[in-house]
């Protein structure tokens, strides 16, 4: 019997100790007429498969798939084909002591997980410049939705006499993130105003100012934005703060923090993002993790687990979950969020990957990505009929090209998975493609893509 170790004798002994004849007797509270009959066909799962059969089955499912390794690969848009260190797999997947532990409620036998969360928080602090990072969120999209809720709470608390129930989504925000924010706003009764990107691909500063009424409590931007363009975060912060509202920045490509100004220095109030590109596999978009950082004075409004350094009875350094009075298991309906998970294993992978890159490696990674991106822009736009949709804008690893539509099939036949067609995600017109570059993109890939576009 798969994964059950009791022998018939074991079962008999346990039943005898309990004082019942059969396991069925333990289900007396379920009326007999709705119980599934043991030999009936109500639950139509397949018959049990052993290790050999299930392996064969999974391999047969994989036969009808292709992945990034099968192509010269140029798709990103929130999930990036970076190299993932084997160290992340060895430590996080194959050492059972991280992967088969629970949330570290009992610190004395969970110092392993707790220490790694503290180190993870420290790394997010190093990347963003903020004093407070939580232990992780589901993903970038839901982290943005939670950050918007937190921004609203902060503004509403500061201006209790006013009604400030409008959320402004400004510029080219990932459509999956924007849709998630919309869902959360609708369910919690907040009004959502969208300020589309201007012709240059950036937040339209004038339209944002017009949208910044006194009702607006929070402005959310993405930088680098969905089109890859790096926003002028400082000036967006200024307009937002002039209206005494909160500025939330979401980052879809966390590796951009290797070279770009920290959100803290730009004056951002809450910075969130998708952490997949650091040490996490693509897995069709999940699981990875969201990161969530802010200033120290906002910590009690934050959602999610947080770990603090403390000491044990003997004064030895130790780590423990902290500030639980924000959380659902203590505060119930008054909690900052209902979230429990922190995608701990994915956050651990990010910690391992950041440590494996190290300070110098992370900078080199960023520089390689920028150089390859610049080469790709130059090479692709050198092709007759291919141009940048948003020329002369600073980009980190992604950019939008305009070319003639309908090339996708031809590219795929040549082993090229070109940029994401923006019309397919309602973020542009036919013939516009969002091209993503990572350190895994080779010059050969780029030249091949250019040749195919010609």
């Amino acid at each position: 019997m798969p994964f059950i170790q009791h022998t018939d004798e074991d079962r008999a002994a346990m039943l005898k100790a309990i004082g019942v004849k059969s396991i069925d007797d333990l289900y007396g509270d379920i009326p007999a007429d709705i119980r599934v009959k043991p030999d009936g066909d109500r639950v139509k799962l397949n018959p049990s498969m052993g290790e050999l059969e299930v392996t064969r089955h999974i391999q047969s499912l994989l036969k009808s798939t292709k992945n990034a390794n099968d192509y010269a690969f140029f798709r990103g848009a929130g999930i990036y084909n970076h190299h993932v260190s084997t160290l992340a797999d060895h430590i996080a997947l194959y050492d059972g002591n991280f992967i088969t532990a629970y949330t570290p409620y009992q610190p004395e036998c969970s110092q392993g997980t707790l220490t790694t969360v503290f180190e993870f928080q420290s790394c997010i602090t190093a990347l963003t410049g903020f004093e407070v990072s939580n232990a992780g969120m589901y993903d970038g999209a839901s982290a943005l939705a939670e950050a918007v809720m937190m921004g609203y709470r902060l503004t509403a608390d500061a201006f209790r006499k006013e009604t400030r129930e409008t959320v402004v989504l400004a510029g080219a925000i990932h459509p999956e993130y924007a849709a998630t924010v919309k869902t959360y706003c609708e369910t919690s009764g907040l009004k959502l105003v969208t300020v589309p990107a201007g012709k240059d691909g950036r937040v339209d500063a004038d339209k944002l100012k017009a949208a910044l009424t006194r009702e607006a409590s929070v402005v959310a931007i993405q930088s680098p934005n969905f089109y890859g363009v790096i926003e002028d975060v400082e000036s967006l912060v200024k307009s937002t703060h002039d209206n005494e509202a909160m500025l939330v920045q979401v980052i879809a490509e966390a590796v951009s923090l290797s070279v770009l100004q920290t959100p803290a220095e730009a004056g951002v109030d809450i910075c969130v993002g998708e952490g997949q590109s650091i040490g996490n596999h693509m897995f069709m978009g999940g699981p990875a993790f969201g990161f969530f950082a802010s200033r120290k004075d906002n910590v009690r409004k934050m959602p999610g687990r947080i770990v603090s350094e403390t000491t044990d009875r003997d004064g030895k350094r130790a780590y423990a979950l902290a500030l639980a009075t924000r959380e659902q298991h203590i505060r119930r309906e008054k909690a900052t969020s209902n979230i429990c998970t922190n995608q701990a294993l994915c956050a651990l992978r990010a910690l391992i990957q950041l440590a494996a890159w190290g300070k110098g490696g992370f900078v080199e990674l960023g520089r390689q990505v920028v150089s390859k991106t610049q080469y790709a822009i130059k090479t692709l736009t050198a092709v007759n009929g291919v141009e940048l949709a948003y020329p002369n804008q600073p980009v980190f690893n992604e950019f939008v090209i305009k070319t003639k539509p309908g090339l996708d099939k031809k590219l795929i036949q040549q082993g090229i998975m070109g940029g994401l067609p923006l019309d397919a995600v309602n973020m542009g017109s036919a013939g516009e493609y969002l091209v993503a570059i990572t350190e895994l993109t080779t010059k050969e890939d780029i030249d091949k893509y250019a040749a195919a576009l010609a």
Partner: protein, 499 residues
């Protein structure tokens, strides 16, 4: 910041760091190197590199290995953490998942490249439909609490579509419910109304009848309850709710007791979530990632998040975005797909018989523990229980002044992870301190007997040497941790990481 420990095994990565060390090297750049400031003209750049640790590969591996060894885990320890279903996580799940077909699957690959992934999701949806007895499933929610939120959103959207959105403002929640239930109702804009249980731990139907009305949107129920008791009157409860037009939500945290035994759809549930990381063996990961799919009855299906997976006439699979009534997205892409793959492998291995056996043996083990320990600890409801059982410290408090937390910490000394403490009964060290034990079906009788023996021994220690119990644990890398200071004076990052 405290002094740096001398033993490298106790140092942070940042404290092991030395300029110039690193693990990963990159291939020589195959394109012309650009000047960053020049290439990113118009953008503001970092003033200094992020202060990440600089460490060599052996020290990195040793650091994490030392930390891993400081954890208790299912692979190493009996882990009877009630409500969390800490069962064995088969190794094959991880091995099959770590293939390029999964690790290198991008969410924006065209449909023809992901047929095997869509088929897997389609099959898993069908499995969960069968186990729930409900009509449609979405796999997107990332966790149980996220599933709750998605389910409650669907209920809200359903009433709005019916023109009852303004009227239905309340959600009923039993007082012993998981904290996520009231938090979820509040997040979705509902008022959480607490429902007191009857003295026997079941739902008090008369109390329920008093509290429902035209203002009720629904009720969130956990069955078996967080007290580890199967609710005998599920159909009556559903009838009361449906009688006023309200919906019945089921928190599926405890599906390890009833999967394959009864289909919740058969007793009137309208929507429920699964915790695939509990019931279907996705590893807990130290706090995620899990997955919290929801199953709904037909009338709620139009509101599920997009995309849905559909099967075409020719047997191929596709995304279905054409759902005009959807609540929208609750996260990016298709859910924690990697976790779904592991749950699917597990369910495929169990098959129809295995799912039933799973529940049966989980319930057997928990009842065995109850009867074997009933003379040593007060059982909150000493009657047939489901997959978990709640003890309290009533006896030890009265006789020896020893409390639940002390007993839990003493278990650590015996190599056992503590049970869930101070839940689901209100936190109270005056003899009400709950100890919720869930052995799961994957533990051998010998492991369960060892736990029972340890609990008996601790009961004796409470009498003979209460201070030994109260000062536990004694064998761990750190002694009792000062959790209060962690919250009153939080130190949330290593000072070496910020300038």
């Amino acid at each position: 910041m405290s002094n740096i420990p001398t033993n490298p095994a106790d140092r942070l990565l940042f404290e092991l760091s030395k300029p110039g060390r690193r693990c990963v090297t990159f291939p020589k750049l195959d394109v012309p190197e650009v000047d960053i400031a020049d290439a990113l003209k118009g953008a503001k750049l970092r003033k200094e590199p992020a202060r990440l640790p600089e460490i060599g590969e052996l020290d990195l591996v040793r650091h994490f290995k030392n930390l891993a060894d400081k954890n208790y885990s299912v692979d190493k320890n009996f882990y009877p953490l009630g409500s969390c279903t800490m069962k064995y996580n088969p190794k094959i799940n991880v091995t099959l998942l770590a293939q390029a077909g999964y690790t290198k699957a991008h969410p924006y690959l065209p449909e023809q490249d992901v047929q095997g992934h869509l088929e897997l999701m389609w099959n898993l949806e069908n499995y969960l439909r069968e186990v729930s007895g409900l009509d449609e499933v979405t796999l997107q929610p990332a966790a149980g609490a996220h599933g709750e939120l998605t389910g409650v959103m669907c209920i809200k959207a359903y009433f709005e579509a019916k023109g009852e959105g303004d009227q239905r403002t309340e959600f009923l929640i039993p007082s012993a419910a998981h904290g996520t239930n009231p938090a979820t109702a509040a997040m979705a804009g509902f008022k959480a109304v607490t429902l007191k249980e009857a003295a026997n731990g079941n739902i008090d139907i008369e109390e329920l009848k008093k509290k429902v009305g035209p203002q009720t949107a629904g009720m969130m129920i956990t069955n078996p309850s967080t007290l580890g008791i199967l609710e005998p009157k599920m159909r009556e409860i559903a009838e009361v709710l449906h009688g006023v037009g309200a919906q019945l939500y089921m928190d599926g945290a405890n599906m390890n007791a009833i999967s394959g035994i009864v289909q919740p759809g058969d007793y009137g549930i309208d929507v429920m979530h699964f915790n695939l990381h509990k019931t279907f063996s996705v590893p807990h990961g130290g706090g995620g990632p899990g997955a919290g799919p929801i199953a709904v009855r037909k009338h709620l299906a139009p509101f599920l998040p997009t995309p849905r997976i559909k099967k075409n006439g020719d047997g191929s699979f596709a995304y279905d975005y054409d759902r005009p009534d959807t609540v929208g997205k609750v996260r990016s892409f298709f859910g924690n797909f990697g976790a779904l793959v592991m749950a699917y492998i597990y369910m495929t291995q169990l098959g129809r018989e295995g799912v039933r056996r799973m529940s049966e043996n989980a319930v057997l083990g928990a009842n065995y523990i109850r009867v074997m320990l009933r003379d040593y600890y007060h059982v909150h409801h000493d009657r047939t229980n489901a997959h978990e059982v709640v003890f309290t410290d009533k006896k030890q408090d009265k006789e020896n002044g020893v409390h639940t937390l002390d007993i839990a910490k003493r278990l650590i000394d015996y190599g056992i992870h503590p049970m869930t403490v101070y839940f689901p009964l209100p936190q109270n060290t005056g003899g009400q301190g709950a100890m919720m034990v869930e052995p799961t079906e994957t533990e051998s009788k010998e492991s369960i007997d060892y736990f029972i023996d340890c609990m008996k021994k601790i009961a004796q220690e409470c009498k003979d040497n209460p201070d030994l119990v109260k000062s536990a644990p004694h064998t761990t890398p750190v002694k009792k941790v000062d959790e209060k200071t962690a919250s009153t004076n939080p130190q949330l990052y290593c000072s070496m990481c910020l300038g």
